[in-house]
Subunit: 146 residues, 2 copies
DNA sequence: GTGAATGCAAAACCTTTGCAACTGG
DNA sequence: CCAGTTGCAAAGGTTTTGCATTCAC
């Protein structure tokens, strides 16, 4: 903590959706947890510290509306609980099987998310989801075992 | 039907796992349904025609062991029910929002599944899952609406 | 023969929903 | 003011599990 200050976002940044206290709290929590890619339950725990009355269903609702509004992204890896991410740049997700963390992988210069794939003519990609699994090679667990 | 004959696979093709009648039926069904990327329930329906006594839990078990053994692949798109696929080549999946079908996207010549992504040094990818959503442009629904 | 797989039903898990009360613009 | 949102609890769909029985090797 410390790196990412809670910024009070304007309605416009949230696709014009009604900005309730709960949505603001959920967004703030996600910005603070940032790169940890928390699940809805994890967001719920942190949100409850700021607003004890918030319910889990509301956290799900808020995450859903913020995702719809394009303010955050939903991350699905296998059938695990969905994770959420405030990074709006095109990026992939990498799950390290040693340290069990998820981190973002950016694009190489000039590349696009679907670079390398032989898309048929006329096919229009509206959304792409890239999830990798393996070992990150830099976490304490990976260093120990290599 | 017609294109893909049910071939009785040997144990070796299944990573050496014990080849029960149920596993064989599940594998056969998946080979026949092939490009339809059926869900476990859909496999269950077809498997029951060949072996009425088979249970849904067993279908899940079989799909799991065949996946572990490397004989088939599990396909996850969003949080929808998992689909399964007998294509072992590296490929992505495309879900058409118009015709609601899933089809395979192959790699361009010379490309790899993680081409274009800026992987950190030391990072080793063991598995990659690429799911796209959009419109395929060739299904009757897409042609109508374009 | 024996460890592994099956079938059944019940449980687990994540997520959504129905509805009365509330609230942001 | 009032459509949209909340909180609660209950239901939903998918997948897993416990256990006695059966089977493949």
């Amino acid at each position: 903590m410390g790196a990412n200050q809670t910024e009070t976002a304007t309605c416009e940044e949230f696709g014009g959706i009604r900005m309730t206290k709960q949505r603001q709290v959920v967004y703030d929590v996600l910005s603070e947890l940032g790169i940890n890619h928390p699940t809805a339950s994890e967001v719920f725990v942190s949100a409850k510290e700021k607003m004890p009355s918030i319910s889990l269903a509301t956290v799900y609702n808020c995450l859903e509306s913020l995702t719809q509004a394009g303010a955050i992204k939903q991350v699905n890896i296998d059938r695990e609980a969905s994770r959420y991410c405030p990074n709006l740049q095109p990026h992939a997700h990498f799950y390290c099987e040693q340290c069990e963390t998820v981190f973002d992988i950016g694009l190489q210069n000039g590349a696009e998310a679907c670079t390398g794939w032989a898309l048929p003519d006329g096919c229009e990609v509206r959304e792409i989801n890239v999830a990798m699994k393996g070992v990150c090679g830099t976490c304490p667990q990976c260093e120990k075992k290599n």
